[in-house]
Subunit: 503 residues, 2 copies
């Protein structure tokens, strides 16, 4: 795999000096077209072995490109705010918006490689990490990103030579650390794992470009040209081709009999007021105690609310929040995306609200909008919402892996009950604002929504992140079911935590 | 000052039960109107003594209001990302956008008070902190924010009683900590300082509302009613009155003779190419070494670029960045504000880019847009840009106090030189994008800009954050002056740092 990158590639100074000015002008022009179109972001990963010129390459790119539209991230040690969230959060927050170029020195590959080399993880763990990286990149490219992954390589002999040269010069000595020599001694181990990583994650959407790092002119010119060609090609395509609007997969078949999951719900279930008040108090009290337990500081809770219009999401949310300390929760109402959100991949606007440990985020409508309203209203293409199921599963799996309790509620009411509530809202002064033309329009698409809901539940109710379907014709019944489910989930997550040492 | 809040205010349960439903409905309606208008944010500070019900009040507000449009912040210990920035950064990042209500438990008063009570600071320090808090609040209210500051008070005797009651009940025992008792013992000291704080910072724009905290019903009803009235009043005013568009202060007089600061610049200054190359290398080398010094990890550098169109900002920025490691700097091009930025006070979009320690942020155009383009083009009112001078001085003072080196460059070229460059840009293919209709229009306002620039320099070139005027007719001369100034400033800031212990 590294054969071509150990041949001793070289570019003469004469050729370099002739080619660089042309390349730089072309790069600037391509970057300008990228900014003007602002159709996609460019994500450049710079990986490779120590001493192969990763830092120099990143600096050079900033020199050749207009640095105002380049965002460079040295992904070193994560901050405490980052450690409190899933590993990928720090990359999400650093993603370049459309029109900009994000250069990452260190990437989602860095820690999986190091952990494996130092034996902190097993082969299977590495494979899983790589699988996740691939799915992430697939999602990003599906969302329009151009991903360019460079791997700067050095042979063992060249690495040794390079480190010695750097060490000899007083001006560069500081760059060679004990860790570099430690890594050098493990060259063969690194090489084996690097090769595995590159082999597994060179995909059609985001292949690795292996570049011999020995000779700076060759390395620089190669990297510059690859970037130029990649941006140019992509800009040309943007002009021409259309994105697939239909998924090439077999279409989702509407139910061919009259049986579906929502029909199995018994919407006549009720709770008497008196019984409700006792139960409400019981579970709110339980929730209050659970979330004030010192162990809760190690948990994060994300509650996702979806449901028919007027199904009682708002009221249910308030029954939860009133049991919590206001300092520990946030309610996030999902409305139309803002300008900054539209310049990012779909899931970005949810990632940005992932809370720190010890906190609860309640989403009033969620990332499922993609497979519900966006699907029905045609705000995105079939191809987009079809891939959203697995993207969402990946997203939630990352949350759960980070000890985040994800609790998802779908609140179901019958069509008749909805009509009753709509009419009631129109009659009652201060409730009138809650009912809009759009609600009436959505109601006309009742059957289409039913289909979308069933598909959603079938495809995204997973063992680690199940949907709870809530029979919501009776508000009392619904609220208690929600509170009970939530407290049960938190309780069992807390039991699964290791015991806190006395501090 | 606390007399009225020690009278033993009480509301009977009967009255409370009658009034609360009415209040809650009115609050929800006012909040809805606030969301619909989205004209201003509401900032609620909840301060006061331990045991006076601050936490309960915040929880109650979240229960009474629609929690989806309330953002609550318990400002506890700052995170490492926050400690790396000026103290106010964490409040700026938490400010509610227009239409939302931000509730702060703990505020910009918390630490100054605690520091003073525990003798970590002197009276003069406290006074300075309060002065800064006042100016901050003035700025926020000038920008449209509604600030409501509650101070929940308890007499010494009532505080003791309250803590004992909480301690007795197993359900609330966890809430009373040793620190609470420690604070109780210092009640009189706290009281003196609290009084001073309230006296100093009860302004016309943002007065403190002192509420007796002893009896929950009285406290809750008071807080709820104050908020309702404040929002209602403000919504009514929004409908009626116009904001002052002219400053009531005396107008800035245009220069009455032909002498102004820009005319004193000798624009004929030049540097020969050969000399330039030596100097450039010298200062870039120096900058490279300085920024790689371990001591630099304790500094932050903010470089602000302003100047005539085509004065060479971009080229100068690139001469700086090419000496830096790409991982440690960010260039921030200031364009029109985004939707999320427009929902915040003017300075918010600059605060969000304040970097962590050890990093360099270079602004290509800056917060001075307010007193330049916005003034000239009438994008904001005279009253707005007139107050911007002191707001900007406050902003920069906060940065400097936090060991941030703020270096501001104004690049001046002559009107003739600009014409030459404009024409040159139109001729040269890949430079053509740099020249727009707007540039030609701005050029017609040359004299108005000159006036604005002189006013800006006069009012914002301070000892702690001086402007460097750069004679930029000759690019070589300008770039070297910029690099030299920047390295000098960083060097002396570094010398002023305490020596690092060997680690």
């Amino acid at each position: 795999m590294f054969e071509s990158a150990e041949l001793g590639h070289k570019i003469s100074k004469a050729v370099y000096d002739k080619e660089v000015p042309v390349l730089r002008e072309a790069l600037l022009e391509a970057q300008l077209d990228l900014i003007k179109s602002s159709k996609f972001p460019v994500i450049v990963l710079v990986g490779g072995v120590d001493g192969a010129g990763r830092g120099e390459t990143v600096n050079l790119l900033n020199e050749w490109l207009d640095p105002r539209y380049v965002q460079t991230h040295g992904m070193g040690e994560p901050s405490d705010e980052e450690l409190d969230r899933p590993m990928m959060w720090r990359f999400w927050r650093a993603l370049p918006p459309k029109g900009k170029i994000g250069v990452f020195l260190g990437s989602w590959y860095t820690w999986p490689i190091l952990n494996r080399v130092f034996g902190r993880t097993k082969v299977a763990d590495l494979d899983q990490s790589l699988e996740r990286a691939k799915r992430l990149e697939k999602m990003l490219t599906d969302e329009g990103a151009l991903i360019i992954k460079f791997w700067l390589h050095l042979s063992k002999e060249k690495q040794e030579k390079r480190l010695k040269v750097l060490e000899k010069d007083p001006k560069t000595r500081w760059r060679v650390t004990d860790r570099d020599w430690e890594h050098y001694k493990m060259y063969d181990k690194f090489r084996t794992i690097h090769e595995a990583v590159i082999r597994h994650t060179s995909t059609a959407e985001a292949p690795w470009i292996i570049v011999e790092g020995t000779e700076p002119r060759y390395r620089s010119l190669t990297v510059g040209k690859v970037i130029l060609e990649a941006i140019r090609k992509r800009l040309d395509e943007e002009g021409k081709k259309k994105k697939p609007t239909e998924a090439s997969a077999p279409p989702l078949l509407p139910s061919i009999d009259d049986l579906h999951i929502l029909k199995t719900l018994d919407l006549t279930q009720k709770l008497e007021k008196k019984h409700y008040e006792t139960e409400l108090e019981k579970y709110q009290g339980k929730l209050a105690i659970l979330t004030r337990n010192p162990k809760f500081h190690d948990l994060t809770v994300i509650v996702a609310f979806e449901g028919n219009d007027a199904a009682g999401k708002g009221g249910s949310i308030r029954r939860i929040t009133s049991a919590l300390d206001a300092r520990q929760y946030e309610v996030i109402p999902i409305a139309a995306p803002t300008e900054e959100e539209r310049a990012q991949p779909y899931l970005w606007r949810f990632w940005r609200h992932i809370p720190r440990k010890g906190r609860v985020s309640i989403f009033d409508r969620t990332w499922y909008g993609r497979v519900l309203v966006e699907r029905i209203e045609g705000y995105c293409s079939e191809a987009d919402w079809m891939r959203a199921y697995s993207e969402i599963n990946d997203f939630e799996a990352q949350l759960v892996r980070h000890n985040i309790v994800v609790v998802k509620f779908w609140l179901t009411i019958s069509k008749e009950e909805q009509l009753r509530r709509f009419e009631d809202r129109q009659k009652t002064g201060f409730k009138r604002f809650k009912i809009t033309e759009e609600d009436w329009r959505n109601r006309e698409k009742w059957e289409a929504y039913e289909q979308a809901i069933c598909d959603m539940v079938d495809r995204t109710s997973t063992e680690i992140s199940p949907w709870t379907l809530v029979e919501a014709n009776d508000k009392y019944f619904a609220r208690v079911k929600i509170l009970k489910t939530l407290t049960d989930r938190i309780e069992s997550a807390m039991k699964a935590l290791p015991d806190k040492k006395a501090s």
